[in-house]
Subunit: 590 residues, 2 copies
């Protein structure tokens, strides 16, 4: 029986940290050797991390990344590695004997190198470069045009990178037609709600329709706005998931791929079109000779469960915070606690990410702060086991108002004074950050950010926006989830029950300024995430005046969001990287 | 003699304002009719403004833009118009009888429509879509694949859009080979230092090498980070500039193109390769019948001078501020005046953009503010003729320190206290903005933004960053320029002479924290604008330790720049749209 043992290192690289990422790769290669694997796959751009963005414009960075491959090769004793990295040189040329190509060949590619002890054996360059949503690959990379097909321990193997496998008529079909039994696909596929299931459906279809085994190695970890969920997979030639790695943590998956079963399946029912002459011209065949397979017994691969959607979201937020804090060299976070649910869930996430000892709350009451808020903050801090300081803002608010009294004489009190309170709080949080080196986590949710119900330099001040892509209605869901998860609820019941309020003037309620969240959130989803027009939103059953008002608020608050700290993305269209709107805009709803 | 009279409307659209842009287009069409022009050209994406970014993802927006063409057509009585707009439908299909194509054809193109009284006569879709620097066109548009060639009053005319003309082997060469005498090229080409000259060199070369007349119609005006400089041109078949529109303002240029001269030139010396069969297949020929030409005498076209580089920069900053303020519905601006040169030049620019009555200064002294600063602010305000309020920040600074004294007990005074002062000032400016509706203009220059020598939510707080792409050394040059321009200098001599200081602690000088600006600025240019490595910068003659320190400061302050307000771009690589760096990065100089 022909068996190919493939290991998959679901690793957590840091963008730009070529040395650190290479060390991790070499460590996993050793693991693979211990596991008697024939080949170990690493994620897309594992050497540089994903997405390297404009670091790619630095020639030195690309050169360092290529040199790292030579170093990685030295670890490949008795095992091959498929390593995502930045290729350089003519994209058409898949096979290299040297990893550093001649000078003067500046085309960059998003590449997978097959590496043996003596260096890079061959290189596949990604054909299909995503340039939508959070992806900007056309800015940097040239598409590949060759298709290496590698014979390895009797198995015929094709390599692809991420997007390549999403298209039915992409390289996978050609590789299958060229005889591939196994597709080693490497990825940096960011999390978004619902994607883990869609991805499995797609991979099952792709494996089945091509009659090939697919190994899907994904990245894991937080990188600025993105969180990669892991969930690496092996699917057999019938589309069945035969191995699945963990969600939201590093993992190492080993699978024995039964190549004979593929051959049998192919003879019975594989439907592949023959290659055209031009397509056949792209194929580059090579055979890699490995020493005789060591004695090994068939491994039973891990088959971790897929998680529920809300569990995934919570885990994404925790991992996003943990990695942003850690990878940027912070240890502790400070959070303004108001007694409201947004800061409560943010604190719970931070505690789960960093540990209670590394989270500090700061309660900053004003005369408009209710007694309940103070009690709830204290109770939350007690339950979470975090320290919490209290600094009243009244004295500062008074002295600002006094200083401005001449200039503002005769003008009514308005949003200016509300913003001042929020900005005093922002200043205090930043002072804590500057003095102690803690990262400020902001607590604004997607609903309020969308309509601009937030103060620039006030509650928007901070280093990382934890729930900026989480609508208010989902903030409640996550809070209930978190409360049900522990031995006892961490978020006090009154926080969940009280009507949302900014407490910036007497008896203020969010609903004085905004539609109720169960109305607001679906309108925002339709307008922001789905780019629906007012007419379409009205046709969905929403009140025209309400919908028009919401749309106007979204359009007019773009300038605020542009200055918001970055934060974790959990939908296909968050404010940030993947939504590029002009600030200066005469666009009016119609 | 065959004469084609072409008018060029160098207009200032607002992104998204389809109704307003269409009105302007119709107004210019009337002008063109009065000028007895055969055809009038408008800039690239004149209907939507440039760049529309994610507004293009709204189907309603694209439909509105197409409907506008029908409306514009009604104005085309006796004159044709070439109008930049968003095309929809198969990019391969250049000729449409109807401007709104059948549903289900979702490909968008960056298109130039030739419009007559009865609607769109034909459409050219941009072939070459820039996707670098500030451009993201591959995210939105499909490339065109056809080449309409129009016969018009005996002249053979080709249409192209912007980037198309920058490539020697692009559509221009094919159009010339297909017989074009005249290329009507429409543009949204943003200003950057030195570009107006490079553009003319390129266009002269392109006209000469193809033996065609080129009309180059550019956009003018500010749009968020971008400023379009105008400088529309006509170049004859020898590459000579025969007409040039104004810099940095709307203009209307009329030129009589001598088509016979092109024919003569062609017979003598045009060097064009014949079209291949495939290329010829892209050509779509059509003839537009116009009424007999009205009686008209040969026009002498305007030939405005090109400006000196520094004059261009100053004008770009003025126009950028004026349009950002105006297009966003503001009228007045407020600026924190410190007595330093950055706020002085910002105020001068604001006064030139908005008028002295629309600029308010705010002086916010602390105990560290020198007497000279106060005197210089008063003198600057007097010379500029602007009002200036004074609010001391001492009381606020004291009350913050008192409020934080328990939490910070035993900790030494550090940058926290400096930032607090800057943030109090930011709060006061924002309070003015909120109360009076003025836009806050920030005063940080490129040198200090690059190394993070600025306070987030402090001096970085505001709506628009006027000089964020201007290095400190150029701030001085601009100040001298402005002082020499008026009847008497507006910036007091002492402001120009004093050593730069943030005045956030006693006797502080910028040079305590940073290398002298004449050393810092070229290192920043090499590292930020040219992506040079430390080794290359050392090889340029800079001290290794200094260069390494600067690079480290740049890399570590990315998180601050991400939260900076948008501002005017004058180089090919400003912080903002055209520099996409990860915040979380393990990249270390080596």
């Amino acid at each position: 029986m022909r068996i190919l043992r493939v290991a998959m290192a679901q690793m957590n690289p840091t963008v730009g940290d070529i040395a650190g990422n290479s060390r991790a790769i070499k460590r996993w290669i050793k693991e693979a050797r211990k596991a008697k694997a024939d080949v170990v796959a690493f994620p897309e751009l594992a050497v540089t991390g994903y997405p390297p963005e404009d670091l790619l414009l630095k020639p030195r960075f690309v050169a360092d990344n290529l040199r790292a491959l030579d170093d990685i090769a030295k670890a490949c004793i008795g095992v091959l590695a498929v390593v995502g990295h930045v290729g350089q040189g003519p994209a058409a040329n898949g096979t290299f004997r040297q990893s550093v190509v001649a000078a003067g060949q500046h085309e960059l590619t998003n590449a997978a190198a097959l590496i043996g002890e003596r260096g890079v054996l061959c290189r596949y360059s990604k054909w299909l470069l995503p340039n939508y949503g959070v992806f900007d690959e056309s800015r940097y990379f040239h598409p590949g045009r060759t298709l290496p097909i590698i014979t390895l321990r009797g198995a015929t193997v094709g390599l692809t990178v991420c997007e390549d496998i999403w298209f039915p008529d992409g390289p996978t079909r050609l590789q299958a037609a060229a005889g591939a039994d196994v597709i080693i696909n490497i990825n940096a596929s960011p999390f978004q709600i619902g994607k883990s299931r869609i991805r499995e459906q797609m991979l099952a279809t792709r494996a089945r329709e091509n009659g090939v085994i697919v190994t899907y190695t994904n990245t894991v970890g937080g990188q600025d706005e993105l969180v990669f969920d892991g969930n690496s997979l092996v699917l057999d030639q019938t589309g069945a998931v035969v191995a699945r790695a963990k969600s939201f943590q590093e993992d190492f998956l080993v699978a024995d791929l039964n190549v004979d079963a593929v051959a049998r399946h192919r003879m019975v029912q594989r439907r592949t079109k023959a290659l055209s002459a031009k397509q056949a011209g792209a194929v580059e065949r090579m055979t890699v000779r490995l020493p005789a397979a060591p004695k090994r017994t068939f491994v039973v691969s891990a088959l971790e469960p897929l998680w529920d959607e809300l569990d995934e979201v919570y885990a994404a937020l925790v991992l996003g915070v943990r990695d942003y804090v850690r990878k940027n060299g912070f240890k502790k976070a400070v959070i303004g606690l108001s007694g409201g649910i947004d800061s409560a869930i943010t604190a719970a996430i931070a505690v789960d990410a960093l540990g209670a000892d590394n989270v500090l709350g700061l309660f900053m009451p004003s005369p408009y702060t209710s007694q309940e808020s103070g009690e709830d903050v204290a109770e939350l801090a007690r339950r979470l086991g975090i320290a919490c300081d209290t600094i009243a803002i009244t004295a500062m608010f008074d002295v600002y108002r006094h200083a401005l009294s001449t200039a503002f004489a005769g003008r009514p009190v308005d949003v200016t004074e509300e913003n001042l309170q929020a900005r005093i709080r922002g200043n205090l949080l930043m002072a804590y950050s500057n003095k102690f080196g803690h990262l400020v986590l902001t607590t604004g949710n997607k609903s309020e950010m969308s309509v601009g119900y937030a103060t620039l330099y006030g509650d928007m001040a901070g280093g990382f926006a934890v729930i900026k892509d989480v609508p208010k209605t989902m903030v409640y869901e996550l809070s209930h989830l978190r409360n049900a998860a522990g031995k006892s609820p961490v978020i006090p019941k009154r926080v969940l029950d009280r009507a949302p309020t900014a407490e910036l003037r007497p008896n203020q309620k969010d609903e004085d300024s905004l539609p109720p969240y169960p109305v607001l959130d679906p309108i925002l989803k339709a307008y922001v995430e789905e780019d629906r027009s007012l007419e379409e939103i009205v046709a969905m059953g929403f009140d025209r005046a309400v919908a028009a008002r919401v749309i106007g608020l979204v359009d007019r608050s773009e300038y605020k969001r542009r200055q918001a700290p970055i934060g974790i993305k959990i939908t296909h269209r968050a404010f940030g990287k993947d939504r590029r709107m002009p600030i200066t805009s005469g666009y009016r709803i119609s």
